[in-house]
Amino acid sequence: MTPVNTLIAKELRCFVVSPVFYVVGAVFLFISGFLAHLMVVNAGQQALRFLQMQNTYAQLNLNELVFRPIFHSLAIVLIFLLPMLTMRLFAEERKLRTMELLLTSPIGINEIISAKFMSVLIIYLGLLGLTGLTPFVLSFYSTFHVDPILTGYLGLALQGAFFLSCGVLASTLTENQIVAAFLSFGIIIVFGLIGGLGSMLGDTTLGAVISYLSFVEHFDRLVRGLLEAKDIVYYLSGTVLMLFIAHRVVDSHRWQ
């Protein structure tokens, strides 16, 4: 095992024994299941209404009625849940002084950061994978387009990775886990809100740049089934940038 794999394994081990992981996992899965239930019931009622009015079966679009609202709601849920997963990553190491062990081991800061990010990404993708049960079950009872669902999941995965990298950065900035969690809410929400600022500025260059910096538009395109390179590039570069800043922060602690 390389030191990076060792560190990933250790992080996963710590997640599995931590109550935070179970609470976050349970809440996330409950919300996603509950949302799916609501949306399906809602779609059923619409179908019934349609039947009463037109006296014929409607071809309902499940992509629009069920999946798109689920994806949008889950994206909001992630803003609140993912900081809970990332808050302890570095804050706890600093508080318990185990950072000293990591930094005096033959392993680079970039390896430490990527290992921690990978571990939390694995946890998140695992949870996200479990929500795939909804489209899987629905596919037996109805027909819908698979492609927008795949791009929607890609959007959730990329957006989650970006949120997690914001959380990793927040966790390097403080020894206090609660502060780290709120700080990452803050960072994520700022990235959400600047989208509003961008559309306020309208069709100017500045407006376009600011809108690009917000994840709102990028996510929306992916959920609608549009797979464009600029959106993928946005998420990947944002994630790498956050992790890079986290690297600088950890490195700067050594000088203090």
Binding site: P3, K10, V17, L96, R97
Partner: protein
């Protein structure tokens, strides 16, 4: 094996250590001695590569700390002031994790784990979660962590802190057992510990090295006169004045009890026989006659207080060493 050259560390305006230079030979145990806040931990952190020095360089096993930090890190086992333990792991999980992190070859991991568990008496707690262990066991797990990859160099920051006397003796035996095959730097503010296990002592105070030698050499170097403690059964009234009449005696002072006197005479003379003869002739009942050697504690106080006087002269800032056991001084 370890060469520390002119290292200085600044935290903002605060100077933690200044121009610290020393070398440690292969297989030697070096004691790093000083009051709390003297710069021991800072120096050790710089050697381990945890933090860089503001100025100066460190070489470990011929590798420079700026050019090959990873090579140095592979060769060092480090026990920080507070052992870096993950509360939720068991002892074996933790040691396996550290072994792999230190790039110990996978085939050697189980063997080394069994060895350090045996060496530090962790067998009974190997499957327990670290968070549930007592302070003494945690400290031992911390030491096991430093030893797991069998590093040629060990840096131990106050390895016996928080242990009970029996555990302290056990840990000291472990460290003594490492001498020869390992190069060890250990910091302590317990002077008897340095005398007991170190080949050589570096005394650091307020960021400066104030002395560097073997414990025995240090005490003899600073001794200005010979001292003898004399206890008699029935000391007469003007006993100390009478003792002063012995040729060669410089001073006689009261010892810890009324029956005990401390006789000071010039360095290089041996008045023991004369004193014994004198006491027997007086018929006061000789109970004990023993030479007093300067303990490391005295040396330490002398050195750090010289330094303190100097500092007072320079900036007139009041400072004290609350950690030092001042009542143990035998000097008048």
């Amino acid at each position: 094996m370890i060469s520390v050259q002119h290292i200085t560390k600044r935290y903002g305006n605060h100077l933690a250590i200044e121009d610290v230079t020393f070398n440690v030979k292969r297989g030697e145990i070096l004691g790093f001695l000083g009051p709390n806040g003297a710069g021991k931990t800072t120096t050790m952190r710089i050697i381990t590569g945890f933090m860089p020095a503001s100025e100066g360089t460190v070489q470990v096993a011929g590798f420079d700390c700026f050019e090959h930090p990873q090579e140095i890190k592979k060769r060092i086992g480090y026990l920080p002031e507070s052992p870096p333990l993950y509360q939720e792991l068991t002892v074996t999980e933790y040691l396996r994790f550290v072994g792999q992190l230190k790039r110990l070859p996978p085939s050697r991991v189980p063997g080394r784990m069994a060895q350090v568990i045996e060496q530090l008496g962790l067998g009974s707690v190997r499957h327990r979660v670290i968070g549930h262990l007592s302070k003494g066991f945690r400290q031992r797990v911390g030491l096991a962590q430093a030893l797991i990859h069998d590093p040629p160099v060990l840096i131990l920051d106050e390895p016996t802190i928080g242990l009970d006397p029996i555990q302290i003796i056990e840990i000291r035996d472990v460290i003594r057992g490492l001498a020869g095959s390992h190069t060890v730097i250990l910091s302590t503010h317990i002077l008897s510990e340095a005398t007991a296990i170190c080949d050589r002592v570096v005394i650091i105070d307020r960021g400066h090295i104030v002395a560097e030698d073997t414990p025995a050499q240090l005490s003899s170097r600073l001794r200005q006169s010979e001292k003898i403690s004399l206890t008699v059964k029935h000391p007469p009234d003007n006993w100390r004045e009478r003792l002063s009449t012995i040729p060669g005696v410089l001073q006689v002072i009261q010892g810890p009890t009324p029956e005990t006197s401390i006789i000071e005479y010039e360095l290089g003379q041996d008045l023991r026989e004369d004193i014994a003869q004198f006491v027997v002739n007086q018929g006061v009942g000789l109970l004990e006659l023993k030479p007093l050697s300067l303990s490391l504690e005295d040396v330490f106080l002398q050195l750090t207080q010289q330094d303190e006087n100097l500092a007072h002269a320079q900036d007139a800032s009041p400072s004290s060493h609350p950690s030092l056991p001042v009542e143990n001084r035998t000097q008048a």
